[in-house]
Symmetry: C2
Subunit: 210 residues, 2 copies
């Protein structure tokens, strides 16, 4: 295969990006292990600052550890609700913001801020680029999952310090995101937050030229 | 078009991810404006925490502003070289780490940490997820460019405070990355840092189950 891509492929790539959604409603039937493993290979194709590949991934199968994380989410979400006013609070309280109860696969993703890999190249003035590399890799994984019909929900309503303690990860691991993965209950090209009237997407990108 | 994707498309998507490279060597011929505009639409399809769409993009056409940023890179790169020892320093000094001199399109990308859009949803305990949303959007843009034959080089060897001052951006804009865009001189599936012996990619993803 060459590095040339057809107009038809490019159109389908845009469609994939439209269909990719943050999924919070999952069916509970299992994800085949070989399919998950193939999708995870997207991480090995991801860009990373200085070729540092700083992603560290824990797969959480233990009901006890999942329960800790779910309780962490519930507490953070309850606190977040108190920060919303009036009508917004009413909408917020009805939102389903995580699929942690149903998703068959749970991954906690971290960035190893102290990795020696890459020799620090590119990260001297902006060490946060290591975390950005992990986010880029998750994005490729997300698209790969969606192309296979799977959904991913990125949970960020969590206390990261408590999560790191509960999962007993090394000191230098920064928590990036908690990923719920499974078969979506339904598919949509409109984000759930737009469907329920929380927020609308900008129709076009504003770009300022200087 | 439906949300179903064929095995052939999924294979081509993986190929796109293999061909996507951090490009530092550009031809100087221009990028058609309509092609760039189409690729930029990828931002409008990107996920963002709470639907906050916090990306802010400056296109730098001004030779004076480009020169400020290029000088910023040269200074940061010279400092980074002094942090490398012996043989690594020798390799580092030979690396070409930015295409700022040749790339026809320069974008400085920021995150508006103070945006009211999204009502703070999902970002209370982890405000850095706004920056992560910008990184995810850049990743979709990167793939879209590459599918059109264009290359992107993400420059992070910069002093972000100096860059924000030079470009006179609002107080709450966090600098995410400086993107050089153009037609690559050549294409490769192997990262340049691997070709020159700086670092190697892990052949497989290590995932720990708990």
């Amino acid at each position: 295969m060459t590095g040339q891509f057809s107009p038809a492929f490019r159109e389908e790539l845009a469609a994939l990006m439209r269909w990719r959604r943050d999924v919070r409603r999952f069916r509970t039937d299992p994800v085949p292990e070989d399919l998950l493993a193939r999708c995870l290979q997207a991480f090995t194709l991801a860009p990373s600052v200085g070729l540092s590949e700083p992603w560290r991934i824990l797969r959480l199968d233990s009901p006890r550890l999942r329960a800790h994380c779910h309780e962490n989410f519930r507490a953070a979400n309850a606190r977040a609700l108190t920060g919303q006013d009036g009508e917004r609070a009413a909408i917020y309280s009805r939102l389903k913001l995580s699929g942690m109860a149903e998703a068959p696969i749970h991954l906690a993703v971290f960035c190893d801020d102290a990795t020696a890999k890459g020799g620090g190249l590119g990260a001297a003035t902006m060490p946060e680029t290591r975390a950005y590399s992990v986010v880029g890799a998750i994005t490729l994984f997300w698209l790969t999952l969606r192309a296979a019909g799977l959904g991913l929900g990125w949970v960020s309503i969590l206390d990261p310090d408590r999560l790191r303690l509960d999962l007993d990860v090394p000191e230098d691991w920064r928590f990036i995101g908690y990923l719920c993965i499974g078969w979506p209950e339904k598919e949509d090209t409109v984000p759930e937050l737009e469907r329920v009237g929380w927020e609308t997407r900008a129709p076009a990108l504003h770009l300022e030229t200087r």
